[in-house]
Amino acid sequence: MTPVRKVEGRAYPWGAKNIDTDVIIPAHWLKTISRAGLGKGAFETVRANPDNIFDDPRYAGAPILIAGDNFGCGSSREHAAWALMDMGIQAIIAPSYSDIFSGNAVKNGIVPVVLPQDAIDRLVEVAKTDEVTVDLETMTVTTPFQDRFEFSIDPFRRQCLMEGLDEVGLTLARDTAISKYESAVSSERPWLSRERDYAGLAVESAGRT
């Protein structure tokens, strides 16, 4: 993952609430086995309207998206984060996110900034004409008009974003602790392991409804 410290540029001044992941990327795009190329399906149903914000030349290629409450609700599909990434989004500013989406965003180097609604209202106004800056180092969002909004973000998420950490690699380095946990559990809760029943691939067991 590419480290991200600062995102600056134009921002889509959207502000819409309860944007679900079916809106970000409709299910028929999920047949892919790759992470790439999903930008062309991003906001497909919104873009069906000719006056939509995403095809407005003023915001073409904007790296920031300003949205309303509960952004990314619904499905766990990480395709939503991949689609945003593919259309060039590196930061989102909203009052709240669904828990699954904000995690997916961070894992793809997209900064999910949380700011209160009045800050969102102000940024939507500014973004219509001017650029916005998201700075992870100072944890601020600023504008050319002296606006300065501070935000907080989970320290581990911030570190992952700023250092572009490989979480799987990080956890694999804790292998000893994981093995120790597993051996403790195998005596405390022996029914959890299925190693004994693990007889190969095809599961034929049927049973009842």
Binding site: S75, G103, F156, A177
Partner: protein, 479 residues
Amino acid sequence: MTARPQTLYEKIWNAHVVERRDDGTYLIYIDRHLVHEVTSPQAFEGLRAAGRAVRRPDLTLAVPDHNLPTTPRVDAAGHAIPIADPESANQLETLRHNVAEFGVPYIDALAAAQGIVHVVGPEQGFTLPGTTLVCGDSHTSAHGALGALAFGIGTSEVEHVLATQTLLLQQSKTMEVRVDGNLGFGVSAKDVVLAIIGRIGAAGGTGYVIEYTGDTIRNLSVEGRLTVANMSIEGGARAGLIAPDDTTFAYLKGRPMAPAGEEWEKAVAWWRTLPSDAQAVYDATVRLSASDIAPSLTWGTSPEDVVPITGRVPDPDSFADPSKRVAAQKSLDYMGLTPGTAMQDVGVDQVFIGSCTNSRIEDLRAAASVANGRHVADGVRALVVPGSGLVKRQAEAEGLDSIFISAGFEWREPGCSMCLAMNPDKVPAGQRCASTSNRNFVGRQGPGARTHLLSPAMAAAAAVTGRLTDVRELMGDRQ
């Protein structure tokens, strides 16, 4: 020393801490991992690219469901019928290839046990109380019905679990949703969860794990509990728990992947220690009375847009919050509804009985009892999609398939189907669907599709009358 009283969530959480990082993030062990074809290809690809293995294939179970067509899978001679859409076929083939390469247990599309991942887990006894269970699907919250801490994860997390059998997580807040009292005539688990979401809102549970308590919940069957926990995510909560009890144990005993013999006894003894302590404190509590819950449905494009079937399409001006007013107007425009219209005067074009919310045997029984001796209204297309091959087989043994077929419903093969319109089962643009699924989002059941979420009995009632209908009027002499 007296231990601090703990909630069910805290007990499960504490039993799964591998270690706590200095920044407050926890490394949490994952006991069960369900995998399907749509959110796993990129995770396996990540493992392959980094030369990593699956740490615990025995704790992993893969089954195709989302993308699989629900038309017949074998021809008269018993040969598999190829999948027409090349992208879907490729994704399903990729899953087969990946499970073989990484040694992951797999239920094939043609196996009797195949079905929707959240129907299969409990049915096989793969889902157990007190476990941590994840899947790359937000409706994983369903497994909380058995007292498992179960939640949906993204594909990067799927890869993380495959490689390490753990996740890096922050602890959630806890919300108790307490429902007490007897459910009224014609009121089901689906109506209960719709009422809950209508109350807390689509983002009300964000940052929380819900625990459903109260005698209404306790009196639900495991099937009904699965319906409730399934829709936790529609209220914003990543997970929803119901304490394991004798109903849970009776459901699980003897299932193929559940513990047996001495281990079963040990497991039950531990499971009995899990319910929240009497003095445990939740970060938030919401109370509902079962007697206030009517057969319900959604009118808009968010699962929080809930109204009793006896109600009317709301007037956007009736909302105090100006942003809600705008959202309601947009929803009504999309849904093609006029404020003040009685919900029962709204006609339907499609009916979908299925999905991980409502495709279990009890759901099909409830729908069949309404469909029995009646016929799908002219111009309405009605689909019944069982949640698994086992549900289908059981329903056929009980003759439910013939009730549906003679009433003019289509009887299909198991899968996610019209819930998310990923396979060929879609609602055409502008058409209105009475659906037992979980999401009424814009475009969810197909571009331009209009969805009303409701219970299986209410869906069957809509199918036979051709309009949204108070199922109680059709149940007069049937209960």
